[in-house]
Subunit: 287 residues, 2 copies
């Protein structure tokens, strides 16, 4: 099957970038955008990210997509999937760009059947909004595909090729393992960054600390400028892992606090050295 | 007085960059580097960061510097200041590039007298080592000068002009206020970043999490690649503020955890929205 009609649910930065990437490889690809925000659809059309668009999901029926991509905040997925059932052809593949997989993949599979294939592109920035869409956002980045034993093999292969064609490295992963790993390496850092800004608000007592960003502070807090609705949904949908990671994190930070408070010079040096060494492994592993 | 001979104690990234910046403005400036690491001195000479150098601080006597800059980890300052007293002319100004001011400024003033002027350039990266020195590191950046009522006025003016000539914006600040502010906006974020890596080490149980950096993770953890000895010293010397900030931070993060755990959707949205809004103030305030 050659994909010629793709529908994006959620006309934002991620969905928009996926459309542009597809159109870059397949100039004849037609895209239809659904969003609750009329303005996003207008901008999407102006920027030729989508060819058509509507705030009414039932308009997908006439478009008859061969692939539907859920690109809205993850907590909207279930309701959207329920609506989609009545609207799309039974051959139509459904996938998503969500940062949470785990139980969501199994729930979506229950609703949509084996033609649902979960996915998570490891790309993106703190930016939100379709106006920031880039056709090269996923180039050279990983795309995690999270099939189950129930997933349709052809649907999986087709989706895999599509992502490879737009330049991503596709890696298969169990949906629950995905949520453990990205709970730790992505959701935890975002929680940590949002909380840092919250702490600085509380500590800005008599002095506006936000006037004094130290060196590296802007980079460090950039992810706290991410979309609040998107992140609220990720935190709530991956609650179990996120809470577990925050607990582990508070333990690590409390340990560091005690080393500082008690002036344990040797142990403090070891703690910081071990952290630096492990941080530097990332640069070595990932170019 | 025209400064022609500058000694740097600690031939690293910060001290080296200061030498290069000075030489860029005053090509005839002569620099002498002291370091416990012979290799740093060799590299510094090769790269023409320093003209001369030694591992033996007493060699400063013959060089007869007009300005001495403490650029080593902050916990070495007191001992160095005590040695300096015997070695330098009584007209020689002493300053530092340390990230902690507060009590240290008063202690150094006690040893060196009013010719000591504390300073802290708000610049730098996670890099360490004289080989990374850049003559434009301080250009367009803030330099915090922390005089006391006891500080020599001429020494202060001279230092101020020197930093302005290399392109920094000089801002005066009380030494203790400095430690409160930078405890929150710089030392806390570093503690938070080091602890994040520590937590990921602990959470890497059966799976190597460092193989899966999410989007933004590299930027977010870059500061955890900073020099362990430098940061051990900063944490210990600014212990009171750092511990207070870590406590405030753990409160903020615990609050976020509860909002997630209890699924308090509305409050969670507000928390994340407030964080994003305050984070974005930094971009607006600081270009």
């Amino acid at each position: 099957m050659r994909i010629e009609r793709v529908a994006i649910i959620g006309v934002g930065f991620m969905g928009g970038s996926f459309c542009l990437a597809l159109k870059n490889v397949y100039p004849s690809m037609r895209t239809f955008g659904i969003d609750i925000n009329e303005q996003a659809i207008e901008i999407g059309k102006e920027l030729k990210v989508i060819d058509q668009g509507s705030t009414d999901i039932s308009e997908l029926k006439d478009f008859n997509p061969q692939l539907v991509v859920l690109a809205s905040p993850v907590r909207t997925f279930i309701e959207i999937a329920q609506s989609l059932r009545e609207l799309i052809d039974k051959e139509c593949i459904v996938t998503d760009l969500g940062s949470v997989k785990g139980h969501l993949v199994y729930e979506l599979e229950n609703i949509l059947g084996p033609r649902f294939v979960g996915g998570h592109p490891i790309a993106g920035t703190e930016k939100s909004g379709v106006q920031y869409s880039r056709n090269d956002l996923f180039k050279g980045k990983r795309f995690i595909i999270t099939p189950t034993t129930f997933t349709d093999k052809d649907a999986k292969s087709l989706l895999k090729s599509l992502w490879e064609e737009i330049g991503s490295f596709v890696e298969e992963m169990d949906p629950h393992l995905h949520d453990y790993i990205f709970g730790a390496v992505s959701h935890l850092p975002h929680a940590v960054a949002f909380a840092l800004i919250d702490a600085l608000i509380r500590l800005s007592d008599g002095v506006d600390l936000f006037k004094y960003p130290g060196a590296g502070f802007k980079d460090f807090t950039r992810i706290a400028a991410s979309d609040p609705i998107m992140w609220r949904d990720i935190f709530l949908e991956n609650k179990e892992n996120v809470v577990k990671c925050i607990d582990a994190y508070i333990n690590s930070l409390s340990k560091l606090k005690i080393l500082i408070q008690d002036g344990l010079e040797k142990e403090l040096t070891l703690y910081l050295e071990e952290a630096r060494e492990n941080r530097n492994k990332i640069d070595r592993n990932n170019g």
